[in-house]
């Protein structure tokens, strides 16, 4: 599997090239910021009519990761829907697709700032979820330990022999882990940004996603 393994809060975790986090011992997969229905929300608010294919593209990748990891638990780490209206307006085919993926595994929706509250889909809806030393929540809290969050859509840039390579990235230090956005229609926030520099310790690493995920010292 194309993954970068590392230790976090004493557990071996894998940052997948797709942007998902896998915890092999628990057969647990975690994805953040899916932003389902983003194009629908933009059109609803009078903006551009973007290609309405991002939900199925995100689902396609998620299905592939679920199949490959044989995950028994899936955690969607918030902002799974671009807003609650987008969750309601989800086309039937995509609704069924989610239901199909939910079959035979535990599915947890953590709420995010875009989707604060339960949606009309199966699975457990929680504001945050703790297991052992780890806490899964949408937005990182200062001072937290063993925290896994999303929200910021981090990306990191590296210069390699004159080429600038910028990718969505996991940010990891000894206390917290921030996941990149998994949804197809999502952008990134550079790791240089003040808020990320403040959150992460000086010795944090960034794991760049892509065909071969690699770790670098977090660029700041």
């Amino acid at each position: 599997m194309n993954a970068h393994s590392f230790t976090f809060a004493d557990h071996r975790l894998c940052a997948l090239g797709s942007g998902a986090l896998f915890w092999p011992e628990q057969r647990l997969l975690c994805v953040s910021d899916l932003h389902f229905g983003k194009s629908e929300r933009m059109a609803r608010r009078g903006g551009a009519t973007l290609p309405p294919y991002e939900t199925r593209d995100t689902l396609e990748r998620l299905e592939r990761d679920l199949n490959q990891t044989q995950a028994e638990v899936l955690i969607c780490l918030g902002d799974s829907f671009d807003d609650l209206g987008a969750a309601m307006a989800l086309p039937e085919a995509e609704r069924l697709w989610i239901t199909r993926l939910q079959a035979g595994r535990r599915w947890i929706w953590i709420e995010g700032n875009h989707d604060p509250g339960p949606v009309d889909l199966g699975g457990t809806h929680l504001s945050e979820w703790a297991i052992g030393p780890l806490t899964f929540r949408h937005i990182a809290q200062p001072g937290a330990r063993g925290e896994i969050s999303g929200h910021y859509h981090p990306k990191a840039r590296v210069n390699a022999r004159g080429r600038s390579i910028s990718r969505p990235a996991f940010l990891v230090d000894r206390d917290r882990l921030i996941l990149p956005a998994y949804g197809t229609y999502t952008g990134g926030l550079r790791s240089h940004t003040q808020v990320l520099c403040d959150l992460m310790r000086a010795d944090a690493i960034a794991v760049l996603t892509g065909p071969h995920p690699v770790a670098i010292p977090m660029p700041r």
Partner: protein, 835 residues
Amino acid sequence: MNLSFPLALKAINATLRLMPALPPKFAKWFASKGWSIHPHQQDMLTRADAPALLLIAPTGGGKTLSGFLPSLIDLATGEHKGMHTLYVSPLKALAADIKRNLTAPVQEMGLPIRIEERTGDTSQSLRKRQRADPPHIFLTTPESLALLTSYEDAPRMFAGLKRVVIDEIHALAESKRGDQMMLALARLQTICPNLKRVGLSATVEDPAAIAHFIARHPDPCEILQADPGPAPDIQMLHTDEAPPWSGGGAAYAIPAVLEQVKQHNTTLIFHNTRAQAEIFFHNLWLANDESLPIGIHHGSLDRAQREKVEAAMVRGDLRAIVCTGTLDLGIDWGDVDLIIQIGAPKNVKRLVQRIGRANHRYNAPSKALLVPANRFEVVECLAALEAVLEGDLDGDPRGTGPRDVLCQHILIAACAGPFEAKALYKELKSAGAYSTLTRAAFDACLDFCATGGYALRAYDRWQRLIESPDGRWQLHDPRAAQRIRMNIGTIQDTDTLKVRMRRNRGGKPLGEIEEGFAATLTPGDTFLIGGQIVKYEGLREMTVEVSRDAAKKPKIATFMGTKFATSTQLSARVQRMFTQDSWPELPAHTADWLHLQREVSQLPQPGRLLIESFPHDGREQTVIYGFAGRNGQQTLGLLLTKRMEELGLSPMGFVATDYATLIWGLNAVEDPGPLFDLVTLQAGLDTWLAGNAVMKRTFRASATIAGLIERNSPTARKSGRQATFSSDILYDTLHKYDPDHLMLQITREEALRGLVDFGRIEEMITRIGGRIDHRRLTRVTPLAAPLFLEMGRVPVNGDAEERLLAEEAARLMEDSGLARITPAPSNKPKWRVGY
């Protein structure tokens, strides 16, 4: 009064009496100036009632007055109410300049004429007043005009409009800005059916094409040619020092250029890129022992700075201005008596227009000097000189009007109010470029604007445009008009960031740099802007903060900018020169350089293909001298890198010029033969469209124009960027799920129009017939050296990127010590998530 109302030395001959006489007030004014009317000015007056006219006159030929004379005479009676004449020019500065030039005679003759300009810089309050009470003569740009036609009250604002004057139409006719302008004119023509059109153009290679562009289809358009004036005096600058093998700065020529500046009143020093202008200005300033007043002017500088330079120039306070294309068009900058062109002129037409800047007097020859920056450019300059003397202007015919512009036009029409599809179709077919547009092609654009045009009909509830029961189309949500208006325009401004001096807050603005360049900066890097060296301090809320730096040499000497392609005519001339045994017409240093190329490698031969490969800069380089023109060489770069990726050669990128493609990668090309199999290349063409950077760049441009991507939304860009995502994602998604979508069709059309030229590659491969001269060398050759400075590098995102990333990541982790401290898990978990 300045020189755009030029002195005509020729006496008016008897034929004048048969023509409409100048009203006494005007005749008296001309006489008081000691001027007489130019023959072509008289011609324009005689044909004032023609539906469309095209005047071709050299710069300084009194073109502007020719265009406005009929309007001034008509307005002199004071009877006309409302707007009479609309003037459109490609540059804001030009509108300001014309206003100045028109105001003088109007005041001197005491004419009851109000003249106002409106550009992106015009204040809100004046804009509002202009809509309620328009001036007689209204000066604007294509974008401002398109915006005005989007208002519901456009018919009232333009009521009574009689004439439209389009300046520098040769420049507009080459771009989407021109297409947009002509669509707006089609709209105006419906509002004012008797509108007369006048186009003013510099010398062009195909006047009939411009005439077709300007006239309401199928109206005729008469072409008037003014006396082209004396041939220009144009030479290569002689320097004691030889130009370098490669390099774009022309630093070697600084003393000689300074000497020329001293000998003339005012010199314009043109550069092909902003970066080169900055470097040259910096060096010129260091050598300027006598402290001659010299300024710099280019599009990335802060507006206030530019205006200061412009004002100083008009006052005659400056001895020289280092500049780029922003000064290219017909702005009247006073007493310029010498043009210096640094770097090879990439295009003969542009060179001729630049030369026209000098000696803004109709009868004096323009004086210009060419300064090649390196030895390859010596060859190019010589080819350009020959082309100018032979009057061999270049230019490629443009095809039918682009459909992304059409989509934007449909949205603009919807802002102005409900429309009938049939009437709009008929109206826009009257624009020459769209005269062959089919109804089906139009309907596809309308559907795209209304529903997004997706195979998955997802937006039935949120359509942008809806068809009302009476069959007219209108905005679903009238509030969308604001967003559409904010995105009017076809100029592709790359995302730029403002540069400011760091001070507590809001230091002095210096100008702008491209976001891509800003991303490469790390604190402490120094670069040039506005002629000074500054140090990058950091980024604060999308503003680049810098401080003054005393360094002698900037660390990073370049920021991106427009790249001009050399025309194919020039490239063919260069190729012919390479076949000569010796080059007595070239300076000895350049002839020696070509001889050296023959010695260490060889010169490209007609009917054969020269390929050089050598290691350089830590990478394996391959140069293909195909002489297939920039588009052809670019396409070749795309196809070859794709083949190389398949063959495991890990290409990293390429750059194309008119003569050659330079490809760099991790592995050497040992045997280029298999790369050039026509069948494989052709098969590649069908699939390469899928995922390369050029297509994505084209998609981004077209999708922005067509309104799929918003450039400016009311909630403007915030400090972070996670809310926005790359247009590449949209491209990939469409390609995967909706490959026949209109936006992808348009992207292909536009790529084939501008970027891809497979025909020339086929022709090249047939021409060489497998006769490939491959030279495997140990170092850069003389002929290849200039390629390393070319801009417009296209990255290849393949295996090489992964390899580089892995390598760099390992190094960074090792250097930081993090590689050693990452802990291993200490114990096994004693629990498991419940199922």
